[in-house]
């Protein structure tokens, strides 16, 4: 089918006396229908923003498929998104062209054995593939040029030519093929409450306090690490314990809901990680409340949502992943995150493809198959129901200029939003499952892909969990570098969100201005690490290599250079009376609601909760620097935005302080000797020894949970290790966007239709991060 389709397009352009005109006009008027499917979209935006300005080539980004004639598939196409891709392609008038950018859309990239991705080339005919992860803006424009040449000159060629050189042929010593470097324990010991000796007085008092309060309800209470307490209960007592925690100690929200499948012991471990926003002493403490239930096809368990509403979406997610039915949760009748036909993929008996280290001629992974039908399911019953009550349903997304990569089902009455139902999962790339099948070090780039607008923080959180488990002390210089990088990435993420926010309010100049600022940040990132958006720079024990003086200078300069452009952005967007009219008093989330729905990060602080992990449980060098947490009390769109803006000013100051400190500090170790072992000399630059030092990393058994403050809020990683395998047994990631999804839904209710986009924009939502 593919070939025919492509030929048809070219045929249209080639026939008729007007063919030269047709080809000339098509060449210079390729309007890409920006099919934002995944993180590569960030670089696509850079290609069309002020840094590279793709519009120069006549390629004007057009959100509406009927008017576009070019699709740039941006990375991953999941099984859920495949339908949308097909529909959008079919909606477009002939002749039309398709480029696929990013490794994900080609042979899967880092997600090559994911259970949820498909290959776009099997869904629509593709003209060109551009490698990269993400593709650089230059790459995207090269793709455009390639299509232009194809149209105008009929030159359908790959733009790289390799020269073949004969390999040495003198026969040496042959050898056998080594086995896979990964080691899975056959019967792993999975326990989430391995006690650890820590110097933590408050912990022992809390535990004795807990013991007296929960008398008879618990099975064991263990301190698993500093600030981490695990409480084991019987299934029937869990709710009661939770209630006691909530009533007596002010534990008011869950940070994570987790399930661990232990097939060889025929059990599921069900976990709730809860903490407190209202009790200052308990803020840094995470209490893991867990129980074990029998492993069967569809086990049932009472939902915790009546008590902690914040667990709602995570429970639905666990229902998708493990097939556990949480009774009392409203979302148990359908798949939430996954495509309807997917099995319960996170159970251990669901196996992924294994790596193949030897070259053979079957390059394509056979397991990737198309979803059974390419029809996009429309909630038809909802239509009727809404019409009966004089309401109207609009489906926003997954391909809509203002939807991002998820679908929103808006139920409106007149101009008022009655209800919003999110339909996430269009970029669910099964990170948690893949992580169980990769070496610890290989997961560093994996998790980074969750959010390439905030890559350093994504790295940092994961690496923290490993360092916690191994009790590694990171060299001082590395700590400063990490703090610097984390803040740089926080600033970058803020500008990303500002750009999207500007677009959502219809202000394209705001978008262009902040994207120009982001171009500076990316320039700094590329010089620091070698990669624009996906540096994978932070590794357990430190960072990959030391940073040179002139790059530090440049980063330091950025903190002042940004002001000039920022001032213009402020004048044209932030202080613009129309913007303020659009956002002030819109989408208010009160303090109680924010706590109830478990919002995180700047969006929580905007509602008046003074909670920032950088202060609550300081990591790296945040406690040595001079900065302040910003909060607000309006809780509206403007408050959320301005709060973050203020926070960025703090970040710029932190950035400056770290750069200054680094400049004063002599060059030295940036990787801890503890993790390098035999390879201590590599402590300034890991080059040449990455595999030696990290290939066989094994964590001690137990559950290791780290929380950090990423750009959009609390980022939680919890790694369960069996102490034997060199791959994690289970990794749970709870990203801030996932937690904030609920906030968008609740804030939108009762507001006007157009406000939905302001609210959406003000929450800085990045779907790949939420869907993971």
């Amino acid at each position: 089918m593919e070939k025919e389709e492509q030929d048809r397009n070219m045929h249209i352009l080639r026939t008729g006396v007007l063919s030269p005109v047709k080809r000339w006009s098509a060449k210079w008027s390729l309007w890409p229908c920006h099919f934002v499917t995944s993180c590569c979209g960030v670089e696509l935006a850079h290609a069309f923003a002020s840094g590279f300005d793709g519009e120069r080539l006549g390629t004007l980004n057009m959100g509406i498929s009927r008017q576009a004639n070019f699709i740039i598939v941006e990375g991953t196409i999941t099984r859920k998104m495949a339908r949308a891709l097909r529909i959008v392609w079919e909606q477009m008038p002939d002749p039309k062209f398709v480029n696929v950018i990013g490794a994900c859309g080609q042979r899967g990239g880092i997600f090559w054995n994911s259970y949820n991705i498909t290959r776009p080339s099997e869904i629509v005919p593709v003209d060109f593939f551009i490698p990269g992860c993400p593709v650089t803006p230059e790459g995207i424009l090269r793709g455009v040029r390639a299509v232009q040449d194809k149209i105008a000159l009929g030159k359908d060629e790959t733009t790289i030519k390799f020269k073949k050189v004969a390999l040495p042929s003198e026969v040496g010593q042959g050898s056998t093929i080594p086995t896979s470097p990964k080691r899975f324990a056959p019967t792993p010991l999975v326990k989430v409450d391995i006690p650890r000796e820590v110097d933590w007085d408050f912990g022992s008092t809390t535990v004795s306090n807990l013991k007296s309060q929960l008398e008879g309800l618990y099975k064991s209470i263990t301190i698993t690490d500093k600030n981490r307490i695990a409480i084991k209960t019987a299934p029937e007592n869990l709710m009661e314990v939770a209630r006691k925690l909530s009533d007596n100690m002010g534990i008011d929200h869950t940070k994570s809901v987790n399930v661990v499948d232990v097939p060889h012991e025929q059990k599921f471990i069900l976990e709730y990680m809860a903490s407190s926003y209202s009790n200052n002493d308990l803020m840094p403490v995470i209490i893991t409340l867990f129980t074990e239930i029998e492993r069967k096809a569809e086990p049932e368990f009472p939902s915790i949502t009546p008590l902690w509403d914040s667990a709602d979406y995570s429970e639905r997610e666990m229902h998708d992943f493990f097939g556990i039915k949480y009774e009392g949760n409203a979302g148990m009748n359908a798949k939430f995150l996954l495509a309807p036909e997917t099995q319960t993929p996170l159970r251990k008996d669901f196996k992924l493809d294994e790596e193949n280290y030897v070259f053979d001629d079957s390059p394509l992974n056979p397991k990737i198959d198309l979803p059974t039908s390419l029809e996009m399911p429309a909630p038809t019953d909802l239509y009727d129901e809404a019409e009966a009550s004089d309401e109207f349903i609009i489906l926003v997304g997954p391909h809509h200029t203002g939807s991002g990569h998820l679908r929103w089902i808006l139920r409106i009455k007149g101009d008022i939003i009655v209800d919003v139902t999110p339909d996430p999962g269009y970029v669910h790339r099964s990170m948690e499952k893949i992580a169980e099948n990769r070496l610890y070090i290989q997961n560093v780039p994996l998790f980074e892909r969750a959010n390439i607008t905030d890559p350093f923080n994504m790295n940092l959180g994961y690496v923290h969990a490993i360092e916690k488990a191994l009790s590694i002390e990171v060299p001082e210089r590395a700590k400063y570098i990490r703090t610097m990088l984390a803040e740089l990435s926080r600033i970058g993420a803020f500008f990303y969100d500002s750009g999207i926010f500007s677009l959502f309010t219809g202000h394209s100049t705001g978008f262009m201005y902040v994207w120009a600022i982001r171009e500076m940040i990316l320039e700094a990132t590329v010089r620091l690490t070698g990669s624009r958006c996906t540096p994978s720079f932070i590794i357990p024990g430190g960072v990959r290599r030391d940073i040179s003086k002139d790059v530090l200078d440049m980063t330091g300069n950025f903190t002042t250079a940004v002001n000039k452009r920022l001032k213009k952005f402020e004048d044209i967007f932030i202080n613009n009376p129309v913007f303020i009219a659009r956002t002030k008093g819109v989408g208010v989330v009160t303090k109680q609601e924010a706590i109830k729905y478990g919002l995180v990060g700047p969006f929580l602080r905007a509602s008046g909760v003074d909670y920032d992990i950088r202060k609550v449980e300081p990591y790296e060098v945040y406690d040595k620097l001079n900065w302040e947490v910003t909060t607000g009390d309006a809780g509206d769109c403007l408050g959320r935005y301005m709060g973050r803006y203020e926070e960025i000013k703090q970040s710029l100051s932190i950035l400056k302080q770290t750069v200054d400190a680094l400049k004063r500090m002599p060059r030295g170790d940036v990787i801890s000797g503890e993790v390098l072992g035999e390879y201590k000399e590599a402590s300034e630059d890991i080059k040449g020894h990455l595999y030696h030092a990290y290939g066989n990393l094994v964590l001690p058994k137990g559950e290791w949970t780290s929380v950090i403050e990423s750009a959009r809020g609390t980022l939680l990683y919890s790694i369960i290790s069996d102490g034997d395998s060199n791959v994690p047994y289970r990794v749970r990631i709870v990203t801030p966007c996932w937690m904030n999804l609920r906030g968008i839904v609740e804030a939108s209710k009762g507001e006007r239709v157009a406000d939905f986009w302001t609210i959406y924009g003000s929450f800085g939502y990045f779907p790949p991060e939420a869907d993971r």
Partner: protein, 369 residues
């Protein structure tokens, strides 16, 4: 027969566009029988107005190049370059030609749910209907139909636009098109009244509604409030930022246009520029002194009527650019805010403008001014 032709010729000759510079050429050409007739036909003011300026040809050139000006200028303000690579040394001047041709050769899709006949008809009708007001606009001394009710007629025709947009949305039978059209209808009522009042204010001030008789005075100085109201009203009428509510891309996916493709979309797309052109022309006539301009020795005399046209077009370009550049400055208002502005502030301001005009006229008659 001969008589009829002669009579016709006489009428034509009595009402020619005069361009002194090329007069010798015309005189020479007039010796050649058929060519002479052709030339005098084209230079016959109504026909000249209809076909050349401010009519079809000018409009065509505008449609082809104005979006380029807009895209370049917006690009510049947004720290970019704008269309360029198509002819780098001309700054991508012919970008729109490529876009238009591409639309022309692109498939036109009529989707299953659309009301087929109307879906296509409305696209073409709306383009055609948007041409009508051109008959009543004067570029300097050139006008197609000079009527004492010119301004009113023009207004009436301008008010037809939204009906076609509603039609587009209705025929598309799509949810976003539906919401977009409803928004358009709401906005229509919100801007129409202050807009008309602002024009009335000027008609009262000038004491005539024949565009030809409106003096070359700068209405914007005589009644700046009316000018402001008119400008904002025009921005609302053409769905410009911050009032781009019916077509909000991020909200209702271009609203009424969402289902159109190929040349049908091309026509709708240029219709928005057509509208802007007509309203800018009206603004120039009412507020910016029409075809009047400073006397340039040499040129003014030699170019004759053409000079008026040049001034007129220059002013139109400036007004249009201002209107379009708004999109780089403002985000968009919400529908209810747009309505509040229309029904509240705008009406109030327009009434003030009206009062201003009345007082002005009284003062003038009283000899104070």
């Amino acid at each position: 027969m001969q008589e009829v032709i002669n009579e016709l010729l006489e009428t034509m000759m009595s009402n020619q566009v005069s361009v002194p510079v090329i007069q010798p050429v015309i005189d020479m050409a007039a010796q050649v029988p058929m060519v002479g007739l052709g030339i005098s036909f084209i230079l016959w003011t109504p026909i000249f107005a209809l076909l050349i300026c401010p009519g079809l040809s000018t409009l065509g050139i505008f449609l082809l190049f104005f979006p380029w000006i807009e895209r370049k200028l917006c690009g510049r303000i947004q720290w970019r370059v704008g269309p360029r690579e198509i002819v780098p040394w001309l700054g991508g001047l012919i970008q729109l030609l490529a876009d238009t041709l591409r639309f022309l050769f692109q498939e036109v899709i009529v989707h299953k749910d659309a009301h087929r006949p109307y879906f296509l008809q409305f696209a073409f009708l709306s383009f055609a209907a948007a041409l009508l007001p051109l008959l009543f606009i004067n570029a300097g001394a050139v006008i197609a139909i000079a009527s004492p009710y010119g301004v009113q007629l023009l207004l009436a025709l301008v008010c037809l636009f939204p009906l076609f947009i509603l039609g587009l949305g209705w025929a598309s039978n799509s949810r976003f098109a539906f919401i977009g059209s409803v928004r358009e209808a709401f906005m229509y009522f919100a801007y129409e009244i202050p807009f008309i009042i602002a024009v009335l204010a000027m008609v009262i001030l000038f004491g005539t509604s024949n565009p030809m008789l409106i003096p070359d005075k700068w209405g914007i100085i005589l009644n700046p409030i009316a000018a402001f109201t008119f400008f904002v009203g025009a921005a609302m009428a053409t769905s410009r930022m911050p009032f781009e509510i019916p077509e909000a891309d991020q909200e209702v996916a271009a609203g009424p246009h969402v289902e159109y493709s190929g040349i049908a979309f091309g026509l709708i797309y240029v219709m928005c520029y057509e509208k802007a052109y007509i309203l800018s022309a009206l603004m120039v006539v009412l507020f910016l002194g029409g075809g009047g301009g400073p006397y340039i020795p040499g040129l003014t005399v030699h170019l004759g009527d053409l000079m008026g046209i040049v001034w007129f077009l220059l002013k139109v370009i400036i007004v249009m650019t201002t209107m379009f550049v708004l999109r780089t400055i403002y985000p968009r208002y919400r529908l209810d805010q747009g309505l509040t502005i229309g029904w509240g502030a705008m009406i109030a301001i327009s009434l003030v403008a009206l009062a201003w005009s009345i007082v002005f006229v009284f003062l003038q008659q009283g000899g104070v001014l």
